[in-house]
């Protein structure tokens, strides 16, 4: 095996699981997440001699960029509804709420899910999220607000929590 291949394989073996988590949060399912990550890793491999010391940020940039491209390709596609969402949980049942929310996140359009992934999985600010996605901070805020509105529609128990300002600040 060539040296480049060995280094690349070692990188994927070491960081692949963490990157797959990000890809899964972006894509919403295992198959799409693996496709998204495989494409990003392949691009990294093709450029390995130049990016070998900085591979993980490179792969993440590709993941988000491909997701942005995906938004554009899918711009006219209808949202995929989540079948059989459970009934509203009893107040105070955090684990039920988490399960409901996790399923509801899958029902969000990719763009809105990407914004929430950057904000809550990567802990980026609105400005950093906008820079990563190549849009204006106002767009991030509006996508966050739309995502929250959709989540409230799917999971009414969210109404009992604090205001939408929290995700748009």
């Amino acid at each position: 095996m060539a040296e480049v291949d060995r280094e690349f394989t070692a990188f994927v073996n070491e960081r692949g699981a963490a990157l797959l988590r990000v890809a899964y949060a972006l894509a919403g399912n295992q198959h799409a997440a693996e496709d998204l990550l495989q494409n990003a890793l392949a691009k990294a491999y093709a450029r390995w001699p130049r990016i070998r010391g900085d591979a993980e940020p490179y792969v993440k940039r590709i993941l988000y960029h491909d997701q942005v491209s995906g938004w554009r390709r899918r711009a006219r596609r209808a949202e995929v509804p989540v079948a059989d969402l459970p009934e509203r949980p009893a107040a105070g049942d955090d684990s039920d709420l988490r399960l409901l929310l996790r399923d509801a996140l899958r029902a969000l359009p990719p763009r809105q899910r990407a914004v929430l992934t950057l904000r809550y999985l990567e802990d980026l600010s609105v400005e950093q999220t906008a820079a990563m996605l190549g849009c204006r901070p106002g767009t991030v805020a509006s996508q966050s607000a739309k995502a929250l509105a959709r989540l409230r529609q799917l999971v009414p128990a969210l109404d009992e929590l604090t205001t939408p300002a929290e995700v748009t600040r």
């Binding site: 295992q30 820079a131 929590l161």
Partner: protein, 366 residues
């Protein structure tokens, strides 16, 4: 319900991410896909014309004031708005992309696109060449040399002389990464990551190389460790971890400073107590008294002699483009460069063509 909305959403997004099932053959599949990408690029390269030969016309850079705030906006403060320059037009490749402070863009690499191109500034001819031949390129900051890599020559680095039209291949060592050009564009430093052979390799323009081992017990570096050039190009430096402070894999490791070594002999020369990592030789001010570093939490401007923090900055990968001016690319793949004072106050914004959002960009003094 006591949990805040923010925390609930954070938990839910992380729950979703946790649903990912390990994919044990990920590396194997990515390797196959990556090899196909490389083959496609090579086929395309055979048809690549190096550059469009048209009249060299530097795009006229129009200055325009920042858009006025809407009537309902708060009153305008005393802080002046930055000058926002227009992005170069479609014929941008016909002349050097100039940046505020007299710097120029020396290469652009559309890494985020599967069929992305890379461009190199040919200083002698004052225009950009399309690279369709090499898998990676790194132009020297001055002169006509370009370091190139070919995946079919995994241990070699090529030095292309754009002025002479020659390419020579060298094998400076094994397991080398993080190449960096000296400020005079005559030497490359590589970081050797070989087990039990950590150190640096200096390759000069004639192909001669010298390897220098560095004792990692004496000069402890963890996290991101790679050799960079000093501002005068006589020394290289290595980031130094602070062994007395706790380290976490979820945060940048604490630094106690940077250790300098003679580029010629490999001997340790001096130490600067910096609380973070400089990005390269131009992270130091022209008089060497101040330096921009990536601190453990944020980019910082610090006193080079004492490590005292002067102020926080918006970006760590900044160069000094004048005695009291910084030039940096807005983080996270932005296509916009910012010319700012040492407090981080923006003076000029210069966007690159929109296609270079997320691209790799190298810059150098003009």
């Amino acid at each position: 319900m006591s949990t805040s909305l923010d925390e609930t959403l954070r938990t839910a997004v992380r729950d979703l991410a946790d649903d990912a099932v390990p994919a044990p053959d990920l590396a194997w599949r990515a390797l196959g896909h990556g090899r196909r990408l490389r083959r496609r690029r090579r086929v395309a390269a055979t048809a690549t014309v190096l550059a469009a030969v048209v009249a060299v016309t530097l795009p006229i850079v129009l200055l325009r004031p920042r858009a006025a705030p809407p009537p309902t906006a708060p009153p305008v403060t005393a802080v002046p708005s930055p000058v926002i320059r227009s992005a170069p037009g479609a014929n941008w490749s016909n002349g050097p992309l100039t940046l505020p402070g007299g710097w120029v863009v020396t290469s652009l690499n559309e890494i985020a696109k599967s069929n992305g191109k890379s461009y190199l500034l040919d200083r002698a001819r004052g225009r950009y060449l399309v690279n369709g031949r090499y898998d990676a390129v790194l132009p020297a900051p001055t002169g006509s040399l370009v370091a190139v890599w070919d995946d079919d020559r995994p241990r070699q680095v090529g030095l292309v002389d754009l002025a002479r039209g020659t390419t020579r291949w060298y094998e400076p060592g094994r397991a080398l990464g993080a190449p960096n050009w000296s400020p005079d564009g005559r030497r490359l430093v590589f970081t050797s990551q070989r087990v039990d052979h950590f150190g640096f390799v200096v390759l000069n323009a004639k192909g001669a190389s010298r390897t220098h081992a560095v004792d990692t017990d004496e000069f402890l570096c963890t996290d991101h460790c790679f050799f960079l050039w000093s501002r005068d190009g006589r020394e290289v430096l290595l980031q130094q971890t602070d062994p007395g402070r706790p380290r976490s894999e979820s945060a940048r490791h604490p630094r106690r400073g940077v250790q300098f070594f003679s580029a010629d002999t490999g001997r340790p020369t001096r130490f600067e107590p910096l609380p973070g990592d400089p990005a390269g030789p131009w992270a130091w001010s022209p008089d060497g008294k101040l330096v921009v570093v990536q601190g453990q939490r944020e980019p910082l401007l610090v006193d080079a002699a004492t490590g005292r923090v002067v102020n926080a900055l918006p970006a760590a990968d900044a160069v000094w483009a004048g005695p009291d001016r910084l030039l940096y690319r807005r983080p996270n793949g932005s296509h916009e460069f910012v010319y700012a004072d040492t407090t981080g106050r923006e003076l000029v914004r210069q966007p690159l063509p929109e296609q270079f959002r997320l691209a790799e960009v190298t810059i150098a003094p003009g």
